[in-house]
Symmetry: C2
Subunit: 386 residues, 2 copies
């Protein structure tokens, strides 16, 4: 299986822009102001790990007519110049006096009438990536134009993936699948969990990951206490359940799934918990077809893993996946999003196996016209044994 081509065709960026503009017209927005990595990359293709540095803000203005305007630090001009964006305005950042706000304000005024509205992401899962004082200064300077919510336009568009995007997610998933298949090479009784984490990331890279932004996991007897802690130096012990959950990236797209391993023969409780999580996954996948809702998926899985109906610590049973490790929507009972072909989701049931001990399983699927297609290699009911 060869890797898909890197990059996204310019036509696709134009189409995303056109569709956003149709929605902007519908909502009466003169422009969108984009400040975060996934928003900016979605419309421009601007892909860099430089976002790790919090120093500089980056802005893209999407007018309701015409092409995007990038208002960015000059250090990014060369890279942005390779995208389809031609209107690139730069300043030498960081500038303690005016870190791009004057330039941004000019661009927004240029495309927004005095009584116009400018949309900015303001809903759950979003944040505005610029200093709050600068945001307030910008808002004040734009008056009588107002900054309003973006009606979740970008979130709605990103929710349904193109075949190009699905291809990249599938590639990330395959790389992780191959790394998971090799965990027996790096995990054994006596090795500290921190060393297993280190070696697993090396496997992900060796199998083709561009980078490994996310790895979580745990190892303990009869399940684990939580799934977000960093690895400790405690050595693996016989009987431990080892869980590794990775979000690795290929060409800017994530996978996000986990695998559980028993160090030696699993207990009856662990075997049963693993099988139950697989049952829940299958129940979710069975329902996951166009027309069903996210709430349907939640209930189908929840009734398998948690027949008592108590509140779960994780707060959800899966989520969207793509340019970010976790994306809209969340698989919760309050989410009534109707499934559409092209959505990529994680199914992530968890069970409480004993007091303070849980297990979590996760697979990645894409919604097709006929139903769910597994991107990750669906696990058997039997937990893997090392």
């Amino acid at each position: 299986m060869t890797a898909p081509p890197r990059g996204v065709p310019t036509d696709e960026f134009r189409q995303r822009t056109r569709r956003a503009q149709e929605m902007m017209a519908h909502h009466g927005l003169s422009a969108l102001l984009l400040t975060s990595e996934p928003e900016i990359r979605y419309y421009t293709g601007f892909l860099t790990r430089f976002w790790e540095s919090p120093t500089r803000p980056w802005f893209v203005v999407l007018p309701c007519n015409g092409d995007p305007i990038a208002v960015i630090p000059s250090i990014g001009a060369h890279l942005m110049g390779q995208s389809w964006v031609t209107d690139i305005r730069t300043w030498s950042a960081p500038d303690y006096g005016d870190d791009g706000i004057g330039l941004l304000s000019d661009a927004l005024r240029q495309v927004t009438p005095e009584d116009g509205w400018i949309g900015i992401a303001d809903q759950i899962e979003s944040h505005v990536r610029m200093p709050l004082a600068d945001l307030r200064r910008l808002e004040h300077g734009l008056l009588p134009r107002v900054l309003v919510g973006d009606a979740a336009i970008t979130r709605q568009l990103r929710l349904v993936k193109s075949e190009t995007e699905i291809g990249k997610i599938r590639q990330a998933v395959r790389i992780a699948d191959r790394a998971f298949a090799r965990v027996g090479e790096i995990a054994h009784v006596g090795r500290p969990l921190s060393e297993v984490f280190r070696r697993f990331q090396m496997l992900c890279l060796e199998e083709g990951a561009d980078w490994v932004p996310y790895l979580a996991g745990a190892a303990d007897a009869e399940g684990y206490a939580d799934v977000i802690s960093p690895a400790t130096d405690v050595p693996l012990r016989a009987g431990d359940v080892l869980m590794l959950d990775t979000g690795l990236v290929w060409d800017g797209y994530f996978c996000d799934f986990d695998r559980n391993f028993s160090l030696g023969p699993p207990s009856a409780e662990v075997r049963e918990a693993h099988a139950r999580m697989l049952d829940a996954t299958l129940a979710g996948a069975e329902l996951a077809r166009p027309g069903a809702t996210i709430a349907d998926l939640f209930h189908a899985m929840h009734r398998v893993v948690n027949p008592s109906g108590s509140v779960m610590e994780a707060g959800r049973l899966g989520h969207g996946l793509g340019m970010q490790l976790t994306e809209w929507p969340s698989i919760v009972p309050e989410d009534h999003t109707v499934l559409v072909a092209g959505m990529v989701l994680t199914l992530e049931p968890s069970v409480e196996i004993g007091p303070g001990k849980i297990m979590v399983h996760e697979e990645n699927i894409v919604i097709r016209d006929h139903g769910a297609e597994f991107l990750s290699s669906l696990q058997s009911h039997e937990i893997r044994v090392i």
Copy 2:
């Protein structure tokens, strides 16, 4: 050289909190509201890669008297429970109806009188990590209490590192130093740059990195066009200058420095450029002692690498370093921060070697009473040859 112990003593968190509280009293703030990863970790020690998921907001309230209050998703309760924070209030996130804002508002009201001010980071390099609509709802609900800037209290405290922090940064630097020493094993003519990136990250992990959040670099004849682009699949060629710049993490602290390599014998221009960058680094380090200013450092380096005085694309010649890849301050002529023992900085001169071609060099130093101590192994004037 053994690794320093992991973690930060509780006394140090108490001391950070006490010092913040003294500054809050001075500025008339009743509380600080913390929303971002480094802010929250600085006062609590909450260390997790889970921040990669944008879904859930996390809050810590630092009252002007008493201990911090964590207002966080229940999925983080176990990990936060291992910190020195005892007042931990949780909700099952994501909650589409109220994603923690009610709980947060209650906590803030509890510690803030009606005419009180609540500080929130609002300056350059910061952003508020929560949905804008929730921030506006919170502000409205807190009235007549007001959210104001935090007077850069946390930024000021973080600027001067403790010996515990310096030890962790030094450990990250040493790991990267060892990985850079092995670049000859993984970089050779004919190998795609993307594969070099992958293998270099594996080396960083093998040498002891917890993870590798940042790797940038480039390879081209007579310098490179930019330093933030992702790696292409173009194979290395004889005569290329290869640059690798990594921010790897050990126990939550970054290093950030680069190394240049010539594939085969370097040209006279490349040799001269490399030597000039080292001269600039030494000029900066020579001046870097308590009492000097950041502007002094800038001018000392700038006059060596850029005698013509033109505007640089990078916008600065180095920056702070610690819990983030880049931290306050920036080495720019407008920065008049006075150096104090304990500050950790990168010195990062760049030269334009030809039209559209640059080279960048970077070292990490800590300011001591007697002057600069190099954390990274200071390079010789001669560029490394592979």
